[in-house]
């Protein structure tokens, strides 16, 4: 199998060129796809599962491949490879979550934007980001717009009209506690059957799950509510259990068991 589609490949070298390129393609009615790491796109094209006429490679734009650090936050370009996040921000929860995805070699190519915006339903990088209620920058119709990630993410990224996830703004914040546990069917380098990320700020507790349902799911509650139910596993999983899916890797029943195991482990850490 080979990529038989007749594709045109563009690699703009600045934001201005990127905007021009996208505008020109839209005006001509050409279907295009943003190309970041490319691993998903290459697989999909091989199997004729992606219909597109052009690839716009975003890795030529510096802002998209940089991680910039200030006193209060990290600004991460959408085309930053996961290894760069892991190596530059090793103590962050995001780095720890990303470090479980695929393996080191592939993580040289996997990008955070690709993980969040791709077609695969796991989107594991979103788990800590939603929990931290981060903001992102989106490039839409030539404008850079700052928004809450939660406004444009529900099960998957909801970017319309050729909008592009541009940067992720990660606040440097201390957590009360954070925890993550990732299970796979057998071998470690695989999609997750259950990836649980749990974190608490001063006010809120968030439990995020990837691989458990057909898309990432969350349970958020004020910290007081959490403290009142934290001794009850059943109360904690309430609202989540019914979303467990069965697929070729894992049954819903076992997913629920893995979730309870992860929660139990987390609660031991918390107390």
């Amino acid at each position: 199998m080979i990529i038989t589609a007749d594709l045109v490949y563009y690699k703009p070298e600045s934001v201005e060129e990127l905007i021009q390129c996208v505008t020109a393609l839209s005006d001509k009615g050409v279907r295009f796809t943003y190309y970041s790491g490319g691993t998903e796109i290459v697989s999909a094209l091989r199997q004729n599962k992606l219909q597109t006429d052009a690839l716009v490679d975003i890795k030529g734009v510096q802002a998209l491949t940089d991680i910039t650090e200030t006193n209060d936050e990290w600004v991460i370009g959408a085309a930053v490879p996961l290894n760069q996040i892991i190596d530059q921000m090793p103590d962050s929860l995001l780095a720890k979550v990303c470090g479980k995805i695929a393996d080191r070699t592939i993580r040289n190519v996997l990008t955070i934007g690709g993980n969040l915006c791709g077609r695969l339903p796991y989107r594991e990088a979103v788990l800590p980001l939603i929990g931290m209620d981060v903001e992102v920058v989106v490039l839409r119709e030539g404008q850079l717009i700052r928004k809450k990630l939660s406004e444009i993410f529900d099960k998957r990224m909801l970017l319309t009209n050729n909008a592009l996830l541009y940067q992720i703004i990660l606040p440097k914040r201390a957590f009360k506690w954070n925890f993550h546990r990732r299970f796979t069917e057998s071998i470690g380098v695989d999609y997750p059957t259950v990836h649980m990320v749990a974190m608490a700020t001063e006010n809120q507790v968030t439990i995020g799950l990837s691989g458990f349902a057909s898309f990432p799911v969350y349970k958020m509650m004020p910290i007081d509510e959490f403290n009142s139910i934290k001794h009850s596993l059943e109360a904690l999983v309430d609202g989540l259990i019914h979303q467990a899916k069965t697929d070729e890797r894992c049954s819903a029943e076992y997913r629920v068991h893995l979730l309870k195991t992860a929660l139990t482990e987390w609660l031991e850490v918390v107390s």
Partner: protein, 776 residues
């Protein structure tokens, strides 16, 4: 006996430097402008009638030279049973089966055209397990089985889905079970899966105007390809030239006839122009054959002392849509059906069953890994029932010289020492086999053990040959028909020649590629017999050459040949070493000082053919099809997390009796490679499919094989009970270490689960489910 200079040492592979620097040219590494390229259209259905194929659009595409469907070729091919059309005709029998092929100037053009072929199917309900296939009223997947030609040792049953039935009847199991104080019954299930060799399959075919047909293929068996193509396509065998360059892993998957026949048909269609056919990874996984599956029932009995009295065995092998090597796999499993244990009363029915899943060919272990899983599960249960240590139970039943196999073939003194292998494995694991040791609140440690054996399953006239020629400096060129598939046989053969001539290894030049017009005939590089057979032939060729050197030197030096010695590049008088000639003076003919030349070049010839082999009786399985048995034992130590039943294999150990270790590092590599493959087979691999029989893990994102991070600590020990008719006493070892892994792993985990673990792959979820069953 003098200490050996080469045998028992571990020189680097001959092709090693080129391999690691990337300068080996595998079959797909040569491109030429005149080559045309094929692309395959495959079926998305597991079982369907082909109603119509419309390739009119495909034919119009740029670069396209031809499109072929099953209508264009009205014949079946097959190794033992002719059941398979190269392109599906009228019906497709598995997901991924080829329904059409396109030839174009470039691969991309061929693929683009292929995507425009429209196929109309009438989808049928697929049969997805041997149990289903054998049930009353099951659809008959091969309706015309009665018309299929086959070799006499295969017994298909038309009107059913049974491609072959092999029977073993030894002693009397009724008496055997009557004398048993303990009887157990269990069953196991293994899905079909794939070899996942690093190099996908490729075949290149060209028909010359002279009538010569040139085939280049990533094959383990160039002479099998030559023989089958000659028979089926009615080609004069002298006109067929099959070339096998270095192969990037075969594991049995490349030991039959694969893409070669199809490439030839395509070439013929375009007037004999060179056509290259390469599998994509997905095609290599599913379209080309993989390994067989098994559903087995075993019943075993032992007396109060723990001696086995009877085994009643039922093996239903899952061959998929076609039978290929699988009919011989099921037969081989019957011949070895008891595992390496002495059992006087045996009944075995081993069936090769068609289903609508990807079809099976040879795989490392050739039925023994599947059969081994069934037997070792049974042995573990029986040991438990007897309240006996699992290692001890196997030791007291270990087969010995003088005992008979299930086919009543007597084991001769070239039999390995299984008892010691089991003792060593037990020691390497630190004893306590069967005990579950608590490590902390959540984790336990468990150990499992298994015995293994295998004899090559091959035709009674399996043969090998060797030719040695010389260079002006007296160095040696070695020609055999063995393919280098990564197993290092070429280097082993070089060591044998170096030992025979008493020359350093760098004076031995082994031809790495095989060409059926030049190389001596060799059955196939499979069945763990390459070094053994070609090695024996090579020793004979070296002896032949040495005799020629001595004959010439005798004339020139005026001494009898018996007083001469060949060593260190010279031929000299044993008790007067200064009185001699260099090999270089003789190798290409000796020239006297006055110019007279005598004797000509030295060419050494050697051959090997399996001795005394017979087919087996169709009713009892009695016979002597087994050339030599390699016996061994394996064990694992596994850590299990009781919260989720995720587990890690810490240690995998093997003690195997190989007769003679020719190259210790390579032998160790082979054993570890087999263990790694066996672990992958047991823990991660196997096809998955939906209710329509469509394979869901037909890409490497989803078909998982073992990685370095999952590798346990390996420990390997060799015993050397000589193989009297092997080269320097060596016997085969390429496959065996894969065989004991499922049994050892499943046995270890069953102690933790509290019940037999009978389904492969053993995922944590399956283990957890078993444990839940026990708790209820």
């Amino acid at each position: 006996m003098n200490e050996m200079q080469q045998i028992g040492k571990s020189p680097l592979r001959k092709e090693g430097p080129d391999k690691v620097r990337g300068s080996i040219r595998y079959a797909n590494d040569d491109h030429s402008a005149h080559m045309l390229h094929g692309a395959l259209k495959t079926s998305p259905h597991a079982y369907a009638r082909i109603i119509k194929i419309d390739y009119s659009e495909a034919l119009k595409q740029p670069g396209v030279k031809a499109v072929i469907t099953g209508e264009d070729f009205n014949q079946n091919l097959g190794l033992y049973l002719c059941d398979k059309p190269p392109i599906a005709r009228e019906v497709v029998r598995y997901y991924g089966e080829v329904v059409a092929a396109v030839v174009a100037s470039t691969y991309r053009q061929a693929c683009k055209a292929r995507d425009l072929i429209k196929v109309e199917y009438e989808v049928l309900k697929p049969v997805l397990s041997p149990v289903e296939a054998l049930a009353e009223g099951a659809p008959v997947i091969h309706e015309h089985m009665a018309d299929y030609s086959h070799i006499p040792p295969i017994h298909p049953e038309p009107g059913t889905n049974i491609a072959n039935r092999t029977r073993i009847r030894k002693g009397d199991i009724e008496v055997g079970f009557k004398n048993a104080t303990h009887i157990i019954e269990t069953e196991v299930h293994i899905p079909p899966g794939d070899h996942v060799a690093m190099e996908p399959r490729i075949a290149i075919a060209e028909i010359k105007s002279s009538g010569d047909i040139l085939i280049t293929s990533s094959t383990q068996a160039p002479f099998v390809v030559k023989g089958l193509m000659s028979t089926f396509f009615k080609i004069d065998p002298g006109k067929l030239v099959v070339k096998a360059p270095l192969v990037g892993g075969g594991f049995g998957g490349k030991a039959g006839i694969q893409l070669e026949g199809l490439a030839y048909i395509l070439s013929k269609r375009v007037g004999g122009r060179t056509v290259k056919l390469v599998n994509s990874r997905e095609e290599d996984l599913v379209t080309s054959p993989g390994h067989i599956g098994l559903s087995a029932k075993v019943k075993m009995g032992a007396d109060a002392e723990g001696k086995l009295t009877a085994m009643d065995l039922y093996y239903a092998f899952n061959s998929g849509g076609y039978a290929d090597y699988a009919v011989n796999v099921s037969r081989a499993a019957a011949i070895s059906c008891t595992g390496p244990y002495r059992v006087d009363n045996v009944s075995c029915d081993s069936l090769c069953v068609y289903t609508n899943l990807p079809f099976a060919t040879a795989y490392r272990g050739f039925g023994h890994i599947e059969m081994g899983f069934a037997i070792e599960s049974g042995m573990e249960l029986l040991a438990k029932s007897l309240n006996m240590d699992p290692a001890k139970f196997r030791r007291i039943n270990a087969i010995k010289p003088g005992d008979t196999t299930p086919g009543q073939s007597k084991l001769n003194r070239s039999t390995g020492d299984l008892e010691t292998c089991l003792l060593r494995v037990e020691a390497l694991l630190g004893g306590n086999i069967g005990e579950v040791i608590k490590l902390d609140e959540y984790r336990v440690l468990t150990k499992g053990i298994s015995g293994l054996w295998k004899a090559p399953a091959m035709p009674t006239n399996t043969d090998a040959g060797a030719i040695v020629t010389f260079n002006a400096d007296g160095s040696v060129n070695v020609h055999t028909g063995v393919v280098e598939i990564g197993q290092g046989t070429k280097t082993g053969l070089a060591q044998i020649a170096a030992e025979m001539f008493k020359l350093p290894l760098d004076k031995i030049h082994v031809e790495l590629e095989v060409n059926t017009r030049i190389s001596p005939s060799d059955w196939a590089t499979a069945a763990s017999r390459g070094l053994m057979m070609a090695g024996v032939a090579l020793i004979e060729a070296c002896e032949d050459a040495i005799a020629q050197f001595k004959q010439t030197a005798s004339e020139v030096l005026r001494v009898p040949p018996r007083d001469l010695v060949v060593a260190d590049g010279r031929v000299f008088v044993e008790d007067e070493p200064e009185h001699g000639l260099s090999m270089s003076q003789i190798a290409l003919g000796y020239v006297y000082p006055n110019g007279n030349a005598i004797r000509g070049q030295v060419i050494g010839v050697g051959k090997y053919i399996a001795k005394g082999l017979t087919d087996i009786d169709p009713l009892t399985g009695e016979g002597h099809p087994d050339l030599e048995w390699t016996l061994g034992a394996e064990g694992v130590e596994i850590e299990v997390d009781l919260r989720t039943y995720h587990y890690k294999i810490n240690k995998a150990v093997c003690c195997i009796d190989v007769g003679k270790v020719v190259n210790p590092e390579m032998a160790r590599g082979q054993i570890i490679g087999g263990m790694a493959m066996g672990i992958g087979y047991t823990v991660f691999e196997g096809f998955k499919w939906n209710t329509r029989g469509q394979i869901s893990n037909d890409s490497l994102r989803d078909y998982k094989i073992m990685r370095m991070t999952e590798a346990p600590k390996y420990e390997v020990e060799f015993l050397e009970s000589p193989q009297y008719d092997g080269p320097f006493g060596a016997r085969g070892l390429g496959e065996q270490s894969v065989i004991g892994m499922p049994g050892a792993i499943a046995n270890a985990l069953s102690h933790v689960a509290g019940t037999t673990v009978s389904q492969i792959p053993i995922t944590p979820e399956r283990l957890w489910k078993k444990a839940q069953e026990v708790k209820r």
